[in-house]
């Protein structure tokens, strides 16, 4: 790795959903929270778990498993909520575990292969191979498209 020509690196937060590892850039991550009380919001897609009070800001929470159409699981002590800040809003993402902050060389990110597991490919911006670990880079703009009334992209 030290002989990489492309020295540019990006810091990412690695989290887990079932057995796969995903990554999002630290620059959009505001904080990582343990379990908090979530207030359900009726008449929203099932992946919207509700809203919670994040230091005075009402923040919507999205269950990423549900969003990706994976099997939904009850929250446990490993469950984390990653608060990401996009230009328009802040959203919390429920993930199985979040345990790593690593630097990955920008050069190691490749465009996504044709098929990557079960996750909808439109949600993926690329994959990074770091030390035998395969990290799926998420396209947050797509994953967190605003929920409008009437859109039924529930799955």
């Amino acid at each position: 790795m030290t002989e990489m020509i492309d020295q540019k690196e990006m810091k990412v937060i690695v989290f887990q959903l079932i057995d796969k590892e995903y990554a999002i850039g630290v620059d959009v991550v505001q904080s990582i929270e343990k379990l908090l009380t979530i207030t359900r919001v009726p008449k929203t897609p099932s992946y919207v778990k509700g809203v919670l009070n994040l230091r005075g800001v009402v923040t919507p929470i999205v269950d990423l498993r549900d969003r990706f159409g994976l099997e939904v699981k009850e929250m446990d002590e490993n469950t984390r909520i990653i608060i990401v800040t996009l230009p328009e809003f802040e959203v919390g993402l429920i993930v199985d575990a979040a345990n790593d902050v690593i630097d990955i060389p920008v050069g190691s990110i490749e465009p996504q292969p044709e098929v990557v597991g079960t996750v909808e490919s439109e949600f993926i911006s690329g994959v990074a191979k770091v030390d035998k670990r395969l990290l799926v880079m998420l396209n947050l703009e797509k994953v967190l498209e605003p929920v409008k009334r009437g859109t039924s992209d529930e799955r």
């Binding site: 919001v41 929203t44 809203v51």
Partner: protein, 689 residues
Amino acid sequence: MDTNQYLEMFIEESKEHLQSCNEHLLELENNPEDLGIVNEIFRSAHTLKGMSATMGYEDIADLTHKMENVLDAIRNAKIRVTTEIIDVVFQAVDDLEEMVLDIAAGGTGKKDVQELVEVLNRIEAGGSAVVAASAETAATAVAEMETQQNGHSDLQFDEYDMTVIGQSFEQGYQAYEISIQLREDCLLKAARVFMIFEIFEKSGEVIKTVPAVEQLENEDFEETFAVALLTKEEADVLKAKIMKVSEVENVVVRPITNETLLQGRVEKEENIVKKAAVEKVDSPTNPKSAVVSGEKQNRKNVTAQAGNKTIRVNIDRLDILMNLFEELVIDRGRLQSIASELHNAELTETVERMTRISGDLQTIILNMRMIPVETVFNRFPKMVRQLARDLDKKIALEIVGAETELDRTVIDEIGDPLVHLIRNALDHGIEKPAERLAKGKPEEGTVTLRAYHSGNHVFIELEDDGAGVNRERVLAKAISNGIVSAEMADTLTDKQVAELILASGFSTAEKISDVSGRGVGLDVVKNTIESLGGHISIDSKEGYGSLFQVQLPLTLSIISVMLVELEKEMYAIPLSSIIETAIIQTSDIMNAHNQKVIDFRGNIVPLVDLKEIFETADGDYEADDYQSVVIVRKGDKLAGLVVDSFIGQQEIVLKSLGNYLQNVFAISGATILGNGQVALIVDCNALIK
């Protein structure tokens, strides 16, 4: 010079001055003879010129300069105020506004104003041509004046100067007229003038000079000049001080008293022609010197306004203060609930006191964020003037209660609905002059815009003395658009018929006119106002006019709600839509067309099961003997919301759900409760069809 740090202030103040120009121009149109108004406009324009030149916006300075010339000509009775002139000046103000907005948006503030400048020039020239003949006769008078400059007053005071002098007397100042003669062989006249002015500015305030300051600074004068000074110093002291400046030949200090002022006022009329001639001689100013004088004038204005005890606070800071206070309100709620659990007398007392104080604090903070509705109203006179011309109608707009204050959050939202209502009143309400005369009404229609406080609400009313709502036409239209059935139509009261024009689907695209009715109709107005937690009603008498009444909450940030429980979830229902709460017997619930209804004080009120709407229950409704119902309203319509239990009333801070969750059904926002959890706020408007 680095002007960036002043940019914000420049933009703010420019807007203010332009607004004041607009207002006074409208006033001037009604009282073309009132030169006091011209003076006001002139002052605004002058300040603007100075500021923009300092900031380096040459185009603005140029245009204001030309505008100023025209105003000056009006002020000196060289030209008369006509509608054409006012139109052109309005146009100039519009262009200036555009340039200022451009600067505010990060632009350069440049704009091609050549054409307008030419028109202004032409007006100014046309005006001076008229007095050219009289100027000649005045020339002798001027010569006369110059010869006797040591004996008699050289200074001409206008209304404004006189007021300033008059006021300064009250504050214990003395006014002196000081004539200074420099030595004939004086080399650096400007330097001497500067030194003398330094003395003046240390001891008081210079309100007028002859010749003008810029000419003095350009050495554009002979050996003498005169100054009017407001000071607390003695005449002799002043004289001695000035004599200390080298190359000063002679100084004459004469006190200005009320008598001389009065005399001046009487003489003023006669002197106008003379003065016009003098100013004409004085008027060749080049832009550079205008800049200097602009700055000078500006500084003077600042000192004049120093008595006004207000400070400008950036709105962002107030928002931060508000946010912090909201946090405090949340914690206050938490403290209250802890205290009620602990039953500790001392704690309870302290919490109570804190609640009272924070209540006061809340009022103060809310008041700080209040702005007079004027900020919305002040663009209407011009709009009405323009529209009336486009529609070929004669319309006077009366504004009452423009000083009524509203929270900024509300102010930001009501502009557009009001524009819509006014356009509607002008287009459909007020008749053409001929029609009005035929009906025996005055030719000029009156539209009154009124704002006032009442209880926890602000009312804004728009009243016109136009045609009113035509029952037949409205009904015909409502029936053809399928809003009411023909059978129902007969049973409607006049008020109900009038309110039909607010119904959605009433206004249709077929009657697009330039002014109103772009196919959107008044239902948009109604929706906007209701989404603000407000209410609109209409009262109309055919042939006599209509009255639109808009009721708005004072603020949108902190509202009173009723907390209710559905299963284990808490929801908040705004108190503004609640009529009352009731416990009803399950056996009293009736069925009408698969719709559960109850008889509530003689009204048939449909029941809405909130648990069903919000999908809280798993479907097993065990029917209790009694049901808790919250009766809410939207306009005249009622509905009963069935809930599990009432928890109580609370002040809460309204929070948005953010941009991620847009348009959640029947939820208008969220709030944070004392225990830190989020409760959703029920949007009753969405629940009533």
